[in-house]
Amino acid sequence: MSLLTVIYALLFYAATALLAGGLAYKIWVYARTPQPLKIPTTPAPTTRLGVAVRMVKEVTVFESLFKSNKWIWLFGWVFHLCLLVELLWHLRYFTEPVWFFVPLLHWFIVFTGFGMLAGLAGLWARRFLVDRVRYISGPSDHLMLALLVGIAASGLTMKYLVHTDVVALKAFFLGLLYFSWQPLPADPVLLAHLALVSILMMVFPVSKLLHAPGVFFSPTRNQVDNPRERRWTAGWSAEIDNSKIGRPG
């Protein structure tokens, strides 16, 4: 077993633990924190089902963003869609037999790497070209884009320029899953790709990537608009006791 394999094996265990633990903690915090008042941005659905539909539209077609700005929507949506397909495609390194739908994606996978890059390039360009977005962009915003571009670019490099031994790579990851470590191919591009991915996993729970779980907990989007029909209380508002107030006598 090479030192490299050991380092990467440990790196991925650590990254996975931080990602899972960090996200679980954050989700627990969001779920535990009460929302004392009703604050849906209206017009809002008046039923739970309606809220579910609103939420699905929000996370699949980015409805609010579409209303807001067509360029950001286009770049952002293309990026996220391609990322999603890529993530699913990568399942083939972790599943044996490969899940049935994964091979179906090979039609898309031709575009998705480039799609990610194009989307990221558009978003990054806005950070330089649009003065308002330039103003609000901090170092971490640029670094995050650099990280994602690095991941996409290294992935594309392996796909089209310097192929890596995918059979050995799969053995490595399955080995991680079943705790029987297998050697990792020592290709520099692959090592870079994996290192960047593990960094992404580790920063996820302490960065703005928290928008992913956050959107589901956003009260302006997930609350039902029915404050008159049903009395809402939570947190400090649940401690209100009006029973002594104003009763005659």
């Binding site: 807001s68 952002g76 703005k208 928290l210 302006t220 104003g246």
Partner: protein
């Protein structure tokens, strides 16, 4: 007029280029100790305020899922950057919603997140310093809490929530805003924002009865503290004597009269407004609202109807049931509370009112959707009823109605520029500049359709427009109440 330039209206609305610091000088008067005391806050900057502010901030975040999620989730996409009327009117980048949030987020990050504790430079985290506090005071008083940004943010991040939290933190360390806090203090003492005591209220209402009698020959009553009335009307106190608000109040009274429904005002709860929302203070929010529960029980009414006011309707519609419910002692056949527009619309639908549109033929009308009604509440039983119902009332009362451009009304409505506790003379420059997008849209219907009447259902909007319309070369009496139109059109005693 003051020493600033009214922004020029253009042929098409444009998004201005960033110009740093254009509004850095704009800040409202700070509350004096006696005012602070009247709302339960320290009178001046407390010892150790930096630490106390940070602790308070942490406390607020731990009590609000909204803050927790909003402070973590912003990706700096920039979608909100051109959505705030204060940015559009001032070009000051700190008036872009995300930048305004960042003023507070930077401090939150520094003390409460891993990245901010260990890599402050990377994520723009800042220590709580006097400069930061001053910046908060400046720019969190340039947000009217209109929620336009939250419509357009992919995660629904509502800068209004963050402004409220920031103001609450500032109040807790002794740096309150004079305008809002003075008004809340008056309400605690007397029962309305104006500090209008009961005898004065009665006088005013008697005067109104005489005026209406003179004008119409009909005995329309304006009852106060009438036990056993069917409806308790809770309306902003501006309706009692400010123009054009008062025409709205006359309109409500005529509607009640025509419908034959007994109603009353309360001298104890003579105010719909609840400025405590603007300063994010739960205690004050509850304390102000609870007077209304008390009054409803004391007077033994069956229904509560709320007059034309934006943020007041938000508090009533969205918060009352939580704050001062349950309303099991009221008639469950009607929504509790009910908006005066819902009330009037219902009567129109049932054919219970006779309306003569020609009485308003001198007017070409457009309607300003007040933000708090548009984006923080509802009317009727379907989403978006808050846009339909007031327009239907207007259309039932006038022959000439034209909407402003679609991206400036409905859920995308632009704030009047004076909401959220900013309706004070020490912020006139901000108010005039913040009104720019609304004035731009108004100009368009003035040019295209000859609009000469801007109808609104918010006391703050009405006062704000009265002030800023002249800056944009419109007569100040162009603004009016929706129920002012009803008042003109309604034919009293027509059915007898």
């Amino acid at each position: 007029m003051a020493n600033f330039e009214t922004p020029a209206l253009r042929e098409y609305p444009v998004i201005p280029l960033v110009q740093e610091g254009t509004m850095a000088h704009s800040r409202p008067f700070v509350a004096k100790p006696d005012i602070q005391a009247s709302v339960g806050f320290p009178g001046e900057l407390v010892e150790n305020w930096e630490q106390k502010a940070v602790v308070k901030l942490g406390e607020l975040v731990s009590q609000s899922r909204a803050l927790q999620v909003f402070l973590d989730s912003c990706v700096k996409c920039g979608a909100c950057t051109d959505k705030c009327h204060y940015y559009l009117g001032t070009s000051d980048p700190k008036n872009m919603p995300v930048a305004r949030q960042d003023l507070l987020r930077s401090v939150y990050r520094r003390y409460y997140t891993f990245a901010g504790k260990y890599f402050p430079k990377l994520v723009g985290a800042r220590d709580m310093t006097k400069d930061v506090l001053d910046e908060w005071y400046t720019y969190f008083h340039q947000c009217s809490q209109c929620r336009r940004c939250s419509v357009f943010c992919p995660y629904g991040i509502d800068t209004a929530e963050i402004s409220m939290a920031a103001r609450d933190v500032m109040d807790h360390v002794g740096m309150g805003q004079k305008y809002s806090n003075e008004i809340i203090g008056k309400l605690h003492k007397i029962g309305n924002n104006l500090g209008l005591p009961e005898p004065a209220l009665r006088d005013t209402l008697e005067g109104l009865e005489e005026d209406v009698k003179d004008a119409t020959g009909v005995d329309v009553k304006f009852p106060v503290d009438m036990k056993g009335a069917e409806v308790l009307l809770i309306t902003p106190s501006a309706d009692f004597f400010a123009e054009p608000h008062i025409d709205g109040l006359i309109g409500y009274a005529k509607v009640f009269h025509a419908a034959g429904i007994s109603w009353t005002l309360s001298s104890y709860a003579s105010e719909a407004a609840n400025f405590s929302m603007f300063i994010g203070s739960h205690d004050n929010l509850h304390k102000v609202a609870v007077r209304i529960r008390q009054a409803a029980l004391d007077l033994g009414v069956k229904r509560i109807v709320v007059g034309e006011c934006g943020h007041a309707w938000r508090v009533a519609y969205s918060f009352w049931n939580t704050l001062i419910g349950p309303f099991d002692f009221l008639d469950q056949n009607y929504p509790v509370p009910q908006h005066i527009c819902e009330f009037t619309y219902d009567l129109i639908q049932r054919g219970a009112l006779t309306l003569d549109k020609t009485a308003n033929d001198d007017k070409v009308v457009t309607f300003h959707d007040s933000c708090n009604v548009a984006r923080a509440s509802r009317m009727g039983n379907m989403p978006g009823g808050q846009f339909v119902i007031p327009r239907e009332i207007i259309k039932a009362c006038v022959n000439n109605f034209y909407d402003m451009p679609a991206d400036t009304i409905g859920e995308s409505t632009f704030c009047c520029g004076g909401g959220g506790g900013l309706l004070t003379d020490d912020l006139v420059e901000l108010r005039v500049k913040g009104a720019l997008p609304r004035m731009q849209a108004l100009q368009q219907v003035v040019d295209e359709h000859g609009v000469n009447y801007l109808a609104a259902i918010c006391a703050i909007c009405k006062s704000q427009f009265t002030k800023v319309l002249p800056y944009y070369k419109h007569p100040m009496d162009m603004i009016g109440s929706v129920h002012g139109l009803v008042s003109n059109a309604i034919v009293l005693n027509a059915k007898q």
